[in-house]
């Protein structure tokens, strides 16, 4: 059994290195391997004292951040302290009992660490194989969701911000177009809602901007916008936007054909990128 090759104070504190990235280690074995590598010590001759010290420092940090994560790490801490204690005992009896050196209390841990390291290496090699394999295209391939020649835009339900932005653009254009405002007959929101419903029932989907075509005054534009907001609230229509600043399209709810992509489908595809159904789009 060797003495500690490096005095404990020569080890820098882990606290400086890992102030936040606690989730980096998946388990106690990962953390131990990291400490061994960081300190450049021999895995077969781990200086238990400084490594344990660093390990516990890290554990303190971890508990500060996330108490739940520490369970498995605590078991390892106990193991380390146990090894440390066992290593101290034979040293006191060494003069009387030579054979105390034959069994190293670190052996079991070292075996586990090497095994763990081996599987990590295996996982990396497997990952390499996976990368090569994913670059081999067979047919038919389930990964295909669409041919690049036929672009499709993924639409998401437009939020209030998007609507306001679009309306602002409509107002700006109207300012140039309308010129002198002629006070006309004021249309109520209810009437406008009915008009819009009528218009939407004629087409599958309508561009947001197009709905403002007939408006003849600023007030009229605002009436249309308020009517649209009301219709969204009443779930009479749904508005979808492709991209953050993309065009907004308005769909009537409950249309049997050409129904817009449901919000759920859109969300899922964004999260996983796996949903293959959303290649179909209303258009």
């Amino acid at each position: 059994m060797s003495d500690l090759p490096i005095p404990a104070h020569d080890f820098e504190s882990v606290l400086e290195d890992y102030p936040i990235k606690l989730e980096h280690f998946e388990g106690p074995l990962d953390l131990l391997l990291h400490l061994i590598r960081k300190n450049e010590v021999d895995i077969y001759d781990i200086p238990i004292l400084p490594i344990t010290k660093q390990y516990l420092e890290y554990l303190d940090l971890m508990q500060e951040f996330d108490l739940d994560a520490a369970g498995e790490f605590l078991v390892m801490a106990a193991t380390l302290i146990h090894i440390k204690a066992r290593m101290l005992v034979p040293r006191l009896e060494q003069e009387t009992e030579e054979e105390a050196d034959t069994e190293d209390p670190r052996d079991v841990l070292v075996q586990r660490l090497i095994e763990h390291q081996t599987y990590k290496a295996a996982a990396e090699l497997l990952h390499d194989r996976e990368t090569v394999r994913s670059a081999q295209w067979g047919r038919p391939d389930e990964r295909i969701t669409g041919i690049a020649g036929a672009p499709f835009e993924r639409e998401f339900e437009a939020d209030l911000f998007g609507l306001l932005q679009a309306f602002e653009a409509v107002l700006k254009r109207a300012r140039e177009r309308l010129g002198v405002e002629v006070p006309g007959e004021a249309v109520s929101i209810e009437t406008r809602t009915r008009q819009l419903m009528e218009r939407l029932s004629e087409t599958e989907a309508c561009g947001f901007d197009d709905l403002f075509d007939g408006a003849h005054s600023r007030g009229d534009l605002i009436t249309t916008f308020l009517a649209l907001l009301e219709m969204i609230r009443l779930k009479l229509i749904r508005v979808f936007q492709s991209g953050t600043l993309g065009p907004i399209r308005v769909y009537l709810c409950g249309r049997p054909q050409g129904t817009p992509p449901t919000k759920e489908a859109g969300d899922r595809s964004q999260e996983t990128g796996e949903s293959r159904k959303n290649a179909s789009k209303p258009d």
């Binding site: 998946e26 388990g27 106690p28 074995l29 990962d30 895995i43 498995e72 390892m76 075996q111 586990r112 090497i114 095994e115 763990h116 390291q117 081996t118 599987y119 990590k120 290496a121 295996a122 996982a123 990396e124 090699l125 497997l126 990952h127 194989r129 996976e130 090569v132 394999r133 994913s134 670059a135 081999q136 295209w137 067979g138 047919r139 038919p140 391939d141 990964r143 295909i144 969701t145 669409g146 041919i147 690049a148 672009p151 499709f152 996983t272 990128g273 796996e274």
Partner: protein, 212 residues
């Protein structure tokens, strides 16, 4: 004979959605002597080895015709997206443990990994990369897990003997790896449930030979 067989086999392998096994080939071409089929297959393999953009690979116990990986960047342009859901490091490492130690129980995996792995194993089951192949006759009768055909397919392995070797790992690590640590068990041998009647109805407990 082999001259006629070669294009037929090529067509079959090309048209098959899954890697075409030798067994299936024999069945489809049962009027031909198996030696001829094998010989034609060899000739076909040689053709593909000399070919440009395509290659014939042995994967998941079968043959497949696919593009060469070096043309990935070009082929990729054809498609909007292709990214398979990536496996986390933890999932990959757990999968490695199962691949080399199979059949293995949940507690045994956790022992090697030093962490609770039931959630990760659940993910791997869901992705059909591992399956339940039986139970260990110990206290609690824990499930035994093994890798699937999909696992072989995803990682481009023809069988379990094709897993990265100990020497490769030693090279990657830059140190010696104790022998016996990472030697996979016999190839895709299925372990029957010791008593099928006791096994609860579970979609995961289907016989391993079944193609999903």
């Amino acid at each position: 004979m082999s001259d006629e067989l070669k294009p037929i086999i090529e067509a079959l392998i090309f048209a098959s959605p899954d890697p075409l096994t030798l067994k299936t080939l024999f069945r489809l071409l049962d009027e031909e002597p198996p030696e001829d089929v094998e010989r034609a297959l060899e000739a076909l393999q040689a053709d593909y080895d000399a070919r440009g953009g395509l290659q014939m690979v042995q994967v998941a116990g079968g043959y497949q015709i696919c593009t060469r990986p070096e043309f990935h960047e070009w082929v990729r342009r054809l498609f909007h997206e292709h990214s398979k859901q990536r496996l986390s490091v933890q999932a990959l490492e757990t999968l490695a443990v199962i691949a080399y130690k199979q059949p293995i129980t949940g507690p045994e995996i956790a022992e090697i990994r030093g962490v609770n792995t039931s959630a990760v194993v659940g993910t791997l089951l869901e992705r059909q990369l591992v399956k339940v192949v039986g139970r260990r006759p110990v206290v609690g009768r824990p499930f035994l897990y093994a890798t699937t055909r999909e696992f072989l397919n995803r990682f481009g392995l023809s069988d379990l003997g094709d897993l990265p070797k100990v020497e490769e790992m030693a090279e990657a690590l830059g140190m010696e790896v104790p022998l016996g640590l990472a030697t996979p068990g016999p190839a895709t041998e299925s372990l029957p449930f010791e008593d099928a009647s006791e096994v609860p109805e579970d979609p995961e407990t289907t016989p391993p030979e079944q193609v999903h």
